[in-house]
Amino acid sequence: MEVTVAMLSLIIVFMLIYLVRRRRWEKKLKEWEQQLAVILQRTIYFEPPENSSPVIPLTFRTIRLLKKNAFRQLLIDQMLQAKKAFTGTAADNLVTLFHQLHLDKLSLQKLLSRKWHLKARGIQELSIMHQQQHTVKIYRLTNAQHELVRMEAQSAIVQLYGFEGLRFLDIIDRPLSEWQQIKLLRLLSRTPGVLPAKAARWLASPNDSVQVFALKLVAEHQQQHLHQQVTACLDHPHPTVRLQAIRCLRDIYTDDTPAVLEKAYPVQPISCKLAILEALAHIGSDSNGTFLTRQLLHPDNTLKLAAARALVITGEKGLQYLDEFPLADTYPLNEIIQQAKTEQIV
């Protein structure tokens, strides 16, 4: 009992000390925030001289405060936020200050740390501040064992080099999570440039997740010339890749695409079948009517509904197919057809 009471007292005392220190820290933070705002303002509006290398003027108080680790880290955090928000001279000035205060060395130290969260933080800081001189160190981490380090390194390389940075897709053998794919797509959507020609190679990558990501890239960047390579992905053993290939074909379709999808349909699982019917609703025509009508006999009601929707969307001929279908008046087809028609009206 004495042990638990002692521990209890210890925790309460620790909590009290923590609360007091936090209160002090919050007060100090408020003071520092004003100081930080002044530094950032001066940096952002600084006009660099034309003939000499720029030096951002700093007050004596700032220089004194910069000796404190916590203040330096706060400054880095605020500079990163500002760097994301500004472009042009203001962004260049922030990078200048980053160098001037040797903050890149701090970030590099973090990058070289053995702790994953510090490593990831270092990568993030160096990439946002466009420190390309550390590319080799960051690139090596694009296939790192720790997922977060790997993700940050991949994002950093894309941030530094745009589409060219995607070259890490050639070497990674660890999977790209869906979250990471979304993140990379978002980074690339803000980057000027075009998808490199080697995207075709990624479509045949031994890493399934790279293939899925490449299919998303091809769809987003409308790479119609890769139609054949995408079609080849319909034979991939993994249904996730096939599903993405179907979605991609919907976005880069040619006149042949509906026939390709119809051909691939019979051997697919339900999820892929559904994706094909949804794709045909977008890209199909009267010529797919017979195929779609056949799907109304499938035992799975979800597929029946998707086929009915596709027929309704393809136009009058599709509606005619539905109305003339022998079982159109029987349950559940009568309700399915009615819903498909109502959705189109709404």
Binding site: M1, T4, V5, M7, L8, I11, I12, F14, M15, Y18, L19, H117, A120, R121, Q124, E147, L148, M151, E152, R174, P175, L176, S177, E178, W179, Q181, I182, K183, L185, R186, S209, K216, N301, T302, L305, P332, E335, I336, Q338, Q339, K341, T342, V346
Partner: protein
Amino acid sequence: MSGPAIFSFFFNYGLWLYSVTLLTSHLLIALLAVVEVRRYRRSASFTDYTILTSSPQAPGMSILAPAYNEGATIVENVRSLLSIHYRNLEVIVINDGSKDDCLSKLISAYQLRKMDFFVTQSISTKEIRGIYKSSLPVFHKLTVVDKVNGGKADALNVGINVASKEYIVCIDVDCIIEQDALLKMAKPFLDSTDKRVIASGGVVRIANSCEIRNGRLVKVHLPDSFLPRAQTLEYIRAFLLGRMAWSRINALLLISGAFGAFDKEIVIACGGYNHATVGEDMELVVRMRRYMEEKKIPYKVTYIPDPLCWTEAPASYKILGRQRNRWTRGTIETLSMHRKMCFNPRYRILGMLSYPYWLLFELMAPLVEFTGLIGMLIAAALGYINWPMFLALLGFILSFGILYSIFAILMEVLTYNQYNKSTDILRLTLTAILEPFIFHPFVVWSAIRGNIDLLRKKNSWGEMSRQGFAGKKNIAHAKT
């Protein structure tokens, strides 16, 4: 040895062994929770959740909100759900045969009209009377289903049948969901590369005394009255320590019915919610896990320590007693339905650790405690008690319980710090000291009554009267 002596030996040493195991497991839970919460928070600091708000690749989520006699607050509650930040979202409100004006209020507030809608009966349910969509494009995410009363599980199953997205988020319609809750909830499903995430839970917090405006929580306060405050402490302990620890070792058995996201395909494959239990939330998670184990598909059930959902806790002993009674019956029913898993190595950590823990330390703890009390009274009457030893042990157990609660408060202070006034922390600490003497005995007694009710085959949900965030009285799901 004589009969009473043998009894005394087993009673004393049995209780001792039980207590040591329980206390050790609490220490391990605290340790694992620290590791997991730290990992999560470090990882979350790199995450920009807003990338999902604009991405066409964001997975589809269907919020399922069953409503029974929620007429007083339904319009506001639905408005709050529609304002959640998520792109690929549909909100399905299931009116479970309400006897009040719940449906008519929804029809008039959102200009709903009845639609031709074919529902695939993936899970068998009671009859659907109609499906309504809004004629206003601004409410295009909303679907209202009117059905014959069948209870919460049946209402959720209807929602699952109607849902068109890949993931379903089951909530209590009277809960307040944080605006970014779905962005955070979607991440675990997108993060995993080696295992399929079948379910994910979020922390539920107590909203009593908090400031709520237009269906949104604007300021957090610690509840003024003791009972909700004790539950606040209990929820911090359960969510920040318990669930995070179990989540760390992928052994979580329960995701709160108030807020949980599930992989729809797996839910349907498992047959959806079970009507035969009042603990349908726990039963579904156990069944989904069992299904994945039996199919030998690698899977994960995750938990997020961020406070994502706020609920009103019972403020009276009567209502609290009914709630705990129902939770006990739900746990017994679930464990009984899946007894095959108990110490069955085929179910790995689920059978060898999660199930036995729930059986021994969640389900049996109140029984052991109650039996211990009776035994102690008998022993005292017969003069068998070594009082100095007894008092020392009692003091140890009580101080350990308080220590665990204070540690949970410390975790809260170090992490989310929702109650940031020093007086709030002091009041929570005092609650932790008082809880073993006032709140805990009542919870134990309610659990005993739950056991008795189950033996008497009483299977009602019990009426859950709430004050409502706007101060109005309303009656929540009360189907028998």
